[in-house]
Structure formats: C-alpha cells, structure tokens
Amino acid sequence: MKREDVRNYNGEDGKPAYIIYDGKVYDVTESRLWKKGKHMGRHKAGEDMTSFISMAPHDARVLEKVKYVCDLEDDELVEEKNEKLRAFYRKYHPHPIFIHYPMGILYFGAFMLLLWILTGNKSFELSSYYGLIAGTLSVYPAILSGLLSWYINYEKTLTVIFKNKLIFSGLLVVISTIISVLRIFLGDMLFESNLYYLYIIGYFLTIPVMTFIAYNGGRITWPD
C-alpha cells in the first residue's frame, strides 16, 4: 500500500481503520481505543503515528496486539523533502548572514548623510550616495533569503510578525529604489530641486523601516 491509500482507511463511515508505524501498516478497526478511527481525541486513523510514539504513555509494543496489514510501499515523504530543505537552511542559514549588509550599509550611509548636512563636506554626501546604492542592492538578498526561510521553516504561515516583515520589506524596497533612482539620474541637480527633501526624508526613513523589520525578525528567533 501507498501512503495515500492508507489515508482512505480512516475508520469513518464504517470504513476500516489503518495506521502507519515505522513503514508498516496496521489494522486497528477492532480496537476499542480507535473507535471511528479516533484515538484519544487527537490521533486519526489513516495517518502516520511514528513521530508520536514518544508522546504516548505506551511504547511501540502495543502494535503487537493489532493486526499487521503490510509494509508501506517506498515513497518519498513530503515531510522528508522538507526535512532536507530544512537541513540545507540550517547548514547555510542565509538570512542571518545577508541581513547584515543592508543593516550595516544603510545605517552607515544615513550617518554620512547626516554628517554632510551638518558639515557641508561633499565627501560625506558621496559616501552616503555609495552607501545608498550598495545598501539598496543588498536589501534584495536579505529579503529573498527571508522568504526562503519563511517558505522552508514556517510553511508560509501568515502571522502578524510575518505580515509586518512582508509589508515593511515592500516599503523598504520602494523607498530605497525611488531615492536611488533620484540620486542616480538627477545627480547634483537633485540638490537644487524640491526633490531634495524627498530624498533626505526617504533616506532617513529607511532606518526606522528596516529596524522595524529587523525587530520583527528578532521576535521570530527569540519569541517572548
């Protein structure tokens, strides 16, 4: 039998109740502890019980008392595939690596911009410009690796924290891209037009936006 075949034997509507344990299929229809395919109000027939055994008040020897049906046909479990992806992610943990770039570079750039405003020294403005370009580009790997982890480790479950991260990441992309485009295409003309204010505000705005995303990231790693 294959895993999907076993799923049909859920003990409901008079159907037999089968369970999987450690690659073998067992028939628990006759067991009074599996009435209508339900066990202790939390396990359902048709499913794989292997991982749950350590939570049970009994060990696997209880299976000696029920009818063995057959071995499970080889299948690559979705769960196994996910486990491989998770192992890959754990090994390389790209998100906590990539986030350092936008966080470091945009903070640095904003600080340079502040020094330029305070001192009028053009070198500071140039530094903030380069910081902006590098910082903006580095936002993408940070976001993509975050999405990857969300996909692999959290099955794309949308909770408040992830909503915050997604919305504000989108905002960060929009702001940093707009001000980069302004600075690249207008050059020094930017500082003679009213767009100057947009540029300054946009640049400084990246900091709280990014910090809020990072704060929500920390809430994932260190839940309260």
Binding site: S51, I53, S54, M55, R90, Y154, T157, T159, V160
Partner: protein
Amino acid sequence: MARLDENLSKQNKVKAIEEMIQIVLLRIPKEVEAMHFYKKAAEKSTTKEAQELFLSLAQQEKGHEAELRRILQDLKEELKNIKGDLS
C-alpha cells in the same frame, strides 16, 4: 444586534486563534533544532548509555514537533471555519 455581538465575539476568537498559531508556529523550528542537537550528541557519544539517552531525547523532541504540527493544523482548520462563517 445579536448578530453584531456574535460577529464581535467571533472576531475576538479569530484574534485569539491567530495569536495561538503564531506561538505554536515559532516553536516548531526550536523543536527541530533541539532534535538535531540530540541526534548529533548521540552520534558523538562515547558510551552506550549516553548514546541511548540522547537518542531517546531526540525521539521526544520529534514527538513535540509532530504534536505541535498537529495542533497547528487543527488551529488553521478552525480559523478557516470561523472566517468562513464570518463572511
């Protein structure tokens, strides 16, 4: 009015379930990590007793993970049903 109250309490319920989903969700990778750690520790153990202890701890973490996934699934299901009722 009764309908409004009902919807309001349902909205509170939705919020409570959503919070619970987040709590359970964020815990799952921690269990996976713990299981990984105990498995590694078992591999590196120098005595049979230590190895058995670590393997049994790894099994327990696997159980926690499976249990949390089951709870998460149920919560998502419940949320879907309530939201379906609301609209």
